[in-house]
């Protein structure tokens, strides 16, 4: 079986599901962030795979680059927020943080 578009899409689908699983089952905010990165990577694989096989050509790669830029910005801001939460609550369990203020 020659590897084509479908195989890449399957890999990205599994990666996406694993990311979703991580996001919903974990308490730790940083673990949620890691799940998010997996989801973004899954999306990126799709973009690049479509760039090669689906006729998106270079546009797919450009979209993937934009996703990477967004992921970088998102990770920086999210970790800043997590650090701030840790300073206020002394833990970063997302299900226990229900108040905006102490």
């Amino acid at each position: 079986m020659s590897v084509g578009l479908t195989e890449y899409l399957i890999v990205s689908a599994i990666l996406f599901s694993l990311g979703i699983f991580g996001i919903i089952t974990r308490k730790n905010a940083i673990m949620v962030l890691m799940g998010l990165e997996l989801v973004l990577n899954a999306a990126n694989i799709n973009f690049v795979a479509f760039a090669k096989y689906g006729g998106m050509n270079i546009d797919g790669q450009v979209a993937a680059l934009f996703v990477i830029i967004l992921a970088a910005a998102e990770a920086a801001v999210a970790l800043a927020i997590v650090l701030n939460i840790y300073q206020n609550f002394k833990h970063i369990n997302v299900d226990e943080i229900v108040k905006m203020k102490d």
């Binding site: 699983f21 919903i24 690049v48 006729g55 050509n57 270079i58 927020i81």
Partner: protein, 164 residues
């Protein structure tokens, strides 16, 4: 040869991603994320997206992963090597697994059954050339907005994380 490499990278990606979400030790998750990102970069290389692959290594591994590990170390009491990350209760776990399996199966079914437009890739001489031209012509506005966004994120993150 390329097929073999694809299966190798796919195995690395999925295996290490499973470690990321299933491991009890949060540091194991963080470090196996390294292999996930690396495997994804390998997949990009197989898809002739060398620039994206290198950007992946540089931004994800050199930037985001380091940030995440720093985050873990700064938000956990690091008195030992056992850093656990709690999971939600058993009921939620089972529900979540069921939902996720359903999502995965439906996605895979979707991907395998749809008749994709299968256009062959026009391999440019150098991808970086065409990416550069695309950024400077067709995607000029998003490119500039992304630059501004990064600046905002930089300033914002510094502002939020600053100790009062």
């Amino acid at each position: 040869m390329e097929d073999l490499l694809f299966y190798l990278f796919a195995f690395v990606v999925i295996g290490s991603a499973s470690v990321v979400v299933l491991s009890k030790n949060i540091m194991y998750s963080a470090f196996s994320l390294l292999f996930t990102f690396f495997g994804v970069a390998g997949l990009y290389v197989l898809l002739f997206a060398d620039f994206v692959a290198l950007t992946q290594i540089m931004v994800y591994i050199g930037g985001i992963l380091v940030l995440i590990i720093f985050g873990v170390l700064l938000t956990t009491k690091i008195t030992g090597v056992d850093i656990k990350s709690g999971t939600t209760g058993k009921v939620q776990l089972i529900t979540a697994s069921v939902v996720v399996v359903i999502i995965a199966i439906s996605l895979i079914l979707l991907f395998t059954n749809v008749e994709w437009v299968n256009q062959e890739f026009v391999q440019p001489n150098t991808t970086i050339d065409s990416i550069g031209f695309a950024f400077m012509t067709k995607y000029l506005l998003p490119f500039e907005i992304a630059a501004v966004l990064l600046l905002i994120a930089l300033v914002g993150a510094t502002l939020i994380a600053r100790r009062k």
